[in-house]
Each structure stands twice: as structure tokens, then as C-alpha cells.
């Protein structure tokens, strides 16, 4: 019987070498033929609150933060600059109000959220929220948010506790019905060069809330996945303490070879793609892109513990070029990545 994409990914998750290299994550602009091979993992998409937009078409989140996108961000929505909802963290109780969860039909929402997933073929992942650190930045902007962490840590932790009660309630309800294989935490706590905050500050203010949120997934036997961009390797041991065994996008400013060596297949690296490198630049040449795919696979696939996930930034002004770029990445992954372990014998 042929192994499914799901079974192959679970081999990686369990520390075994897979039959082929899984691709966990979508390459933007890629035209994926669903009949060619099924996705190894798909995310549940629970819709708890109706989406709201402002007059400019930007999203408004449940707290009232307004977002906007530019063509250059490919529609990625960032909080509107100079339009933040909280300027003094000590006033958060007057400003930050979570919506009511009364009357929500959790089962119906959960079932609808996974309707698009064939569980025999694909694993199911369940996300949580954008992250506690990131929430504060969305409320206050980075400058005031980071100052608040430095000057009012107790207030920030009380805000986080308030948010945690809300989000953990949601996660505990949904996880019972969604029954995911993967449970994801997100928090972008680092810049490309260094963490935004010291390890001590992370451990004191943010980590307890990450750990508490992760415990819900751990208690349901999920693989815990952490999304954290930038140079965040200093706190991997902290993540491990609360159960993280997958990390995306595991960017190249971290010592990825050292991390692979240290953790082996107990920490699955999902990504390891140099998204800021020449192969991700608009207008990159075909052979450069294909070589970058092969180099990434050669470096991190041996022995398992790795899932491929490349990214690129396209532009609405040149979508054709972006699609071509994405095709080279996915085509090279198909040709080189999916046969990698067969060639290894």
C-alpha cells in the first residue's frame, strides 16, 4: 500500500527518515496541482468572529487594530503605522476588550474549519494566535510596545494573562473537535540580527504564556510547532521545555547546522530557506533559484528532521515573474527533494 503524504510527514515528526522530503508550507505564487501530490498538512480555519474591514479595505482585528497592506508585502497586512490603539500600557484595561464567547457553537465551527481537509491524506494543524509579544506590538507599535516591556513589565504580564484566558479558552474548546496533529504557536520575537528582547525578558514575561498555551496541545498529544522568524535561536531550549518539536521558518541567520547537530531529529526544521538571499530576490535567475533549492535540501535533509518550505516575495506589478520564480522552486523540490532519500539509498 502506498504511503500517504500524511504518513510520510508523521515519520518525520516521529524522528524517522521519511520516504521523501515533505514540503510543509505553501510557496507563494506556486500553482500546485492537487492531483500531483496531496498536501502533507493543512491548517484548520475556524471562523469565530465575522471579518471586519475599514474603508480602505484593510482588516480590523477583534481588538480594533487596523491593518494595511502594500503591493510590496504581497497583501501581508501590517498594523497601520501611527494608528495604534494603545499608547499607555497601564491603560490597557480601558482599551483592550476581548469579545464575548457566549453562544458559540464550537462543534459546528470546528467541523467547518476542517471541511477542506482529507484526514487520510493530510495532517491537520491548528493555530492559536499571532503571539503575545506580537499582540503588544500590534496594540502599541514596536517603539512604545518595547518600551512598555522595559518599563511596565507587570502591566504587560497582566495584559498577557487577560489575553491568555481568552485564547486558551478558545483553544481548549476547538482542540476537542478539531483533533489536530500539529498545534502551532506563533510569535515573532526577533529581528534579523538579534532578538528584540533579552532572553531574561523573554523568560520572565512571555515564556510563561507560551508554555501555558502549548500545554493544551501537549495534553492532546499534538506535535507542537513554533513559528518565529529572525535570529531567535537563543530561546530554543526554552521552547523545548514546553514541548516544541517543529520550528518554522528556521531562518538562516540562526546557526542552523549547529542546531541540527545539537537537536538531531527531535527538533524538526521547517524551512531553512534564505528568504532574504539572492534566490528570493525579484528577478532571480533560474539556475540560481534551482541551485538554492538543492543547496538547502543537501544541507538539511540528510537523516530526516527537515521539511522543505521556501518563500519568495512577488509583486502584483510582476505576477508573471513571481509565478515563474515559484515554479522553479516547486519544480526543483519535486525533482530533487522528493527523490532525495531514494538517492541516498
Amino acid at each position: 500500500m502506498t504511503m500517504t503524504e500524511r504518513e510520510n510527514l508523521l515519520r518525520v515528526a516521529n524522528g524517522q527518515e521519511p520516504a521523501w522530503l515533505p514540503r510543509k508550507g505553501i510557496v507563494p505564487y506556486a500553482d500546485v496541482d492537487p492531483e500531483e501530490h496531496k498536501p502533507c498538512c493543512l491548517g484548520a480555519m475556524p471562523m469565530l468572529f465575522p471579518p471586519k474591514t475599514n474603508a480602505r479595505g484593510g482588516r480590523i482585528d477583534i481588538f480594533g487594530v487596523e491593518y494595511e497592506a502594500t503591493d510590496s508585502t504581497d497583501g501581508l497586512q501590517l498594523p497601520m503605522p501611527n494608528h495604534f490603539i494603545l499608547d499607555d500600557v497601564t491603560k490597557w484595561r480601558d482599551v483592550i476588550k476581548v469579545p464575548s464567547l457566549e453562544g458559540i457553537d464550537w462543534r459546528a465551527i470546528a467541523e467547518k474549519s476542517v471541511e477542506h481537509i482529507d484526514r487520510k491524506e493530510s495532517c491537520v494543524s491548528m493555530g492559536t494566535h499571532v503571539g503575545y509579544f506580537q499582540h503588544l506590538m500590534n496594540f502599541m507599535g514596536f517603539t512604545e510596545g518595547l518600551i512598555a516591556l522595559q518599563e511596565e513589565p507587570e502591566e504587560v504580564m497582566e495584559l498577557y494573562a487577560y489575553l491568555a484566558e481568552f485564547y486558551e479558552t478558545i483553544s481548549k474548546k476547538l482542540i476537542e473537535y478539531i483533533k489536530p496533529d500539529f498545534y502551532g504557536l506563533t510569535d515573532d520575537t526577533a529581528t534579523a540580527r538579534s532578538p528584540f528582547i533579552s532572553n531574561e525578558m523573554y523568560r520572565k514575561i512571555v515564556k510563561p504564556f507560551h508554555a501555558s498555551l502549548a500545554k493544551i496541545g501537549v495534553d492532546h498529544d499534538c506535535f507542537i510547532e513554533m513559528h518565529n522568524c529572525g535570529r531567535c535561536e537563543d530561546v530554543i531550549d526554552d521552547w523545548r521545555e514546553f514541548g516544541v518539536s517543529f520550528w518554522n521558518p528556521a531562518q538562516v541567520m540562526n546557526d542552523l547546522p549547529g542546531i541540527k547537530k545539537k537537536y538531531g531529529n527531535s527538533l524538526i526544521l521547517n524551512g531553512c530557506w534564505d528568504s532574504s538571499g539572492p534566490a528570493g530576490w525579484p528577478g532571480a535567475k533560474e539556475e540560481l533559484v534551482r541551485q538554492a533549492v538543492r543547496d538547502c535540501i543537501d544541507a538539511y535533509a540528510p537523516g530526516g528532521g527537515f521539511c522543505f518550505w521556501a518563500s519568495l516575495y512577488g509583486s502584483k506589478d510582476n505576477e508573471k515573474q513571481a509565478r515563474q520564480h515559484a515554479f522553479w522552486i516547486t519544480d526543483e523540490y519535486n525533482k530533487y527533494g522528493r527523490t532525495f532519500y531514494q538517492r541516498q539509498g
Binding site: 502594500t70 503591493d71 514596536f142 518600551i147 528584540f196 532574504s276 516575495y313
Partner: protein, 212 residues
Amino acid sequence: MSKIQEIAAAIEAGKSKIIAELVQAALDEGIAPLEILNVGMIDAMSAVGDKFQKEEIFIPEMLVAARAMKKGVEVLQPHLGDTGAATVGKAVIGTVSGDLHDIGKNLVSMMIESAGFEVNDLGVDVSLEKFIEAVEGDEKVNVVALSALLTTTMPAMKETVAALNASKARGRIKIMVGGAPITPEFCKEIGADAYTPDAASAAQKAKELATA
């Protein structure tokens, strides 16, 4: 501890609430405003920058230090006019068109200001026309700093640098670039004068370029 040392220590620790009082006390003791500025403040911020580069401190600590310095300078400013003290120059700074990220730009802005520059911060998503207008319309400007966080806004940085290179102000300005995807090679390729990897080195480089 001397008053100057107290000011320096307060700035390094980001003590915004006490800095005004300390600066006023130093002025009342008859300490020269320029000494307070140069030794108590600018040198203190330079030390903060060094610690940041060594990862002994992180962005929150640097932000509160820069804010303390700003509050101290507010007290000092009226007294500097009489001393004939000049700023190192004037910097125009902004994140290039299409890019909404501001934290890197804000940090560089604060550190450059802390190094003795007057700063015209144009904000984020700044068109090249706005950069040119800000530079050509103000003869005091001698440094332009451009930030980009996205690979997709690197072309906008390239176009902005090309426009600055062609502008009538080119003879008096130095162009600096930075941001996550920017490299020294890219800086050279697009014809900018300097790349710096972080806010502290940006302030050092701006000063070096302005005083060369």
C-alpha cells in the same frame, strides 16, 4: 559621583523621569551645557550603542536610553544656543516606498539624533519624490538614511538612491542604507555611500560621514 556621571548613568539606564532634574542641577552648578551634552549624554548614548552591538542590552533598553536623552536635551536646548554649539548635521531618514516597517528606522533615527544630529524623520512608505524634496529643500541636510525590510522594497531603495545621486544636493549629502535584506554588496551596487547593520553603527557611520 559627579553630576555629569549621574546624567550619563541615568541615560544609560533610561531614567526619563529623573533626567530633567539632573540636567537642571548640572546647569545650576555651572557646568557648561556643551560638556553636559557631549560627555553626559552623547558619550553615554555611544556606550549604550556599544552594549547593543555586543548584545549586552537589547532594543527596549536602547529605546528607553534614547528617550531619556531626548528629555535631557529638551532641558539643555535653550542653553546651547548661547554656546554657539552646532549639531553634527541634519539627517533625513525614512523607510522606502512600499515598506511599512518602522522599528529599524525609528531606532536609527533615535541613535542618530542622540549622536548630535538634527533629524527629519519622513516616516514609512516614503516616495522618492518626498526624499528629494526633503533633501533639496533644506541645505542643512548632509546625511540621508534609507531603510527597507523587505526584499520587494529593495528596488524602491535602488530607485531612491538613483534619484538622490542625480539630485542637485548630491554634493553635500552622504547616502546610508540599511535593513534586514540589505548587504554591503547591495549598497555598493546601487551607489549608496554606506551600509550599516544596526542602529548603533548607523549613528557612528553618520557622524563619521558628516565630519569627514
